[in-house]
Symmetry: C2
Subunit: 154 residues, 2 copies
DNA sequence: CTTCATCCGAGCGCCCAACCCGGGTCGGGC
DNA sequence: GCCCGACCCGGGTTGGGCGCTCGGATGAAG
């Protein structure tokens, strides 16, 4: 249950791109603005390009720009582009795992968990994050003071 | 965004324990019933014991039993016991990360995501899973046919 | 005092995350 | 047409964590 550095970096780079809607932005400008290792960021941008989330332009006046409007890029898109499918169990899709005996209903738990993750990741867009204006159902989660406590562990 | 084998194994072993409420169950019996590598399962049981989720008894008639009733052990308890805090970002708790500039509101996303994960993991208990009777809000997620599709990727 | 099962630290292989390099390739400007 | 700038891309390196194993110590029961 970890959010990788890769996703975090990808979202931040895309936010930077979305905010300078006009022209192209180079890899180094993105890296400097968000404090991301340059070469590593490049490998992320490459993946984003293959999924159509950004468009790269070579040459002297080159750089990157968004592949489509910021309000049509969800967090789920970004996550799947750089990290593969959401909420896998042992590297497999939860609906394909066979449980039996006493763990007969365990699959339902993982399906439900994935649905919960999706409900957040598929509803939030780059434009929402830029405006600081998340969908109401996500904002409700964030506003709950309980969401900010550090867990009941340790 | 991966559910590790370790959590999956831990839950399955605990379910097995919960179902044979009466006596103690040995590591090998658990391993055989759920098809989990024996020595590996042992290291998991050790962690569960340190968190009080199971009680180990040594000796000839030894084995494991639950540390408290099955309806008082949540999936969040299990996950935190074997995998540490839920939904970390880059190994840090989301509320401790400082974002600024265009990614000013990114922290809210991770907080919301963690809240969504918690809402499932803290509401489902071992007893629920055994009975196949999940909390209504989780069951609602599972019943949605959309929850079963394999993602819109690739 | 032997047997059985849990306890416990250590260690191994592998893959992936996080990076770095060296070059190829394309586009624009002069 | 040449060169510079920036993306494109395969590979390499390092470190850490996951999945899993081993050998032995400790304790309970017959």
């Amino acid at each position: 249950m970890q959010v990788t550095a890769r996703i975090d970096y990808a979202v931040r780079a895309l936010l930077e791109l979305a905010s300078s809607e006009a022209g192209r932005v180079t890899r180094d400008e993105l890296a400097d603005a968000q404090d991301i290792p340059r070469r590593y960021l490049e490998s992320i941008l490459l993946q984003l390009r293959r999924e159509g989330l950004v468009i790269g332009q070579r040459g002297a006046t080159g750089g990157y720009r968004l592949g489509r409007p910021a309000d049509q890029i969800t967090m789920a898109d970004v996550s799947r582009a750089v990290d593969g499918p959401l909420a896998l169990v042992q590297g497999q899709r939860p609906e394909h795992i066979q449980y039996d005996g006493t763990s007969r209903h365990l699959g339902d738990l993982w399906i439900g968990l994935r649905a919960a993750v999706r409900s957040v990741m598929e509803s939030v867009t780059l434009a929402d994050l830029l405006a600081g204006d998340l969908p109401t159902e996500v904002q409700a989660l964030v506003n709950d003071p309980d969401a900010w406590r550090s867990g009941t562990d340790r």
